[in-house]
Amino acid sequence: MSGHTISLRTYYLVFLALMAGTALTTWVAFQDLGWLNTPAALVIAWGKALLVVLYFMHVRHGTRLTRIVAAGGVFWLLILLGLTMGDVATRGWLGFPGK
């Protein structure tokens, strides 16, 4: 297979980082950061997701094609979320029904 193996030590470190991230996001949720609470939670979640994808799912040492496909999935998701929220957020701007 594609050569590179990740060390056991790296796996354990990633595991600890994921656990720490979970504790962190729970703690942050109880702090009043105003509007920053949600972005903070999302940043931590995406950070944990990146660790899982890169190390547990081996994308760190994967082929370029694998990376493009994985990134493509995220890109398509962002199209779905971004354009839908764009529609929702701009409703009523033009002042006539349906717009």
Binding site: T25, A41, V52, F56, T63, T84
Partner: protein
């Protein structure tokens, strides 16, 4: 052309065994991309309705048990570790160790589902299940029902994926016990690992989005 015992021969369209492995991995990733969009649809629904009714979503979120949700998050992350250790064992050719780690992963997955069943039981008892018997204290009961609809839809779909994953892992464990996987051929373990990590990924987003809304105001 005849591969070693236990490893399938290289199919004719591939030049090398590595290329065959890469093609299998690509196939699983393409499936996972469809799953990203599948769950993405529900995340999109969540995004829209939370933006419409933030107070109702926060109120609904406060009725979810953070301890159980957090525990489940830890359990799933641990199961991802045991899964990756199973793949690692396969790469190292330690066939019986694969079985040990697969069984651990299955057990942790079972714990997750058990805790989820307890949580859902609480929701049934509290009358927070959308439908005729729904009852929610507070001004935004109607919108809170939206939150709980999403809660059950998303955690339910996630739980279904876990059940399927446990089924796959059970088949893998039986095959591993029979010595099917070696350092030269462990593609099914690898691919099921990718699926399992993906299910963990979904939960990594579900936990803060469902359980941790506006908790500082609690």
């Amino acid at each position: 052309m005849q591969a070693e015992a236990g490893a399938p021969a290289r199919a004719h369209q591939f030049d090398t065994a590595d290329q065959q492995k890469d093609a299998s991995t690509l196939g699983m990733w393409l499936f996972l991309v469809t799953e990203i969009m599948f769950f993405g649809g529900m995340f999109c629904c969540y995004l829209v309705y939370r933006s419409f009714y933030p107070a109702a979503f926060a109120a609904g979120s406060h009725h979810l048990d953070i301890l159980l949700g957090g525990l489940n998050t830890a359990v799933l992350i641990a199961s991802s570790l045991t899964m990756v250790l199973a793949v690692n064992a396969a790469q190292a050719g330690k066939t019986q160790l694969i079985v040990v780690f697969l069984i651990l992963t299955i057990l942790l997955g079972g714990v997750f589902l058990g805790v989820k069943a307890v949580e859902w039981g609480h929701k049934f008892a509290d009358h927070h299940v959308p439908g005729p018997s729904f009852h929610f204290e507070g001004a935004n009961a109607r919108e809170a029902q939206l939150f709980f609809s999403l809660y059950f839809a998303m955690t339910g779909m996630h739980a279904l994926h876990m059940v399927i994953g446990i089924g796959l892992l059970t088949v893998l464990a039986v095959q591993a016990r029979r010595g099917k996987f070696t350092a030269a051929y462990n593609t099914p373990v690898d691919l099921c690992g990718l699926y399992w990590h993906f299910v963990d990924l979904i939960w990594i987003f579900l936990f803060p989005l469902l359980y941790l809304i506006d908790r500082h105001a609690n």
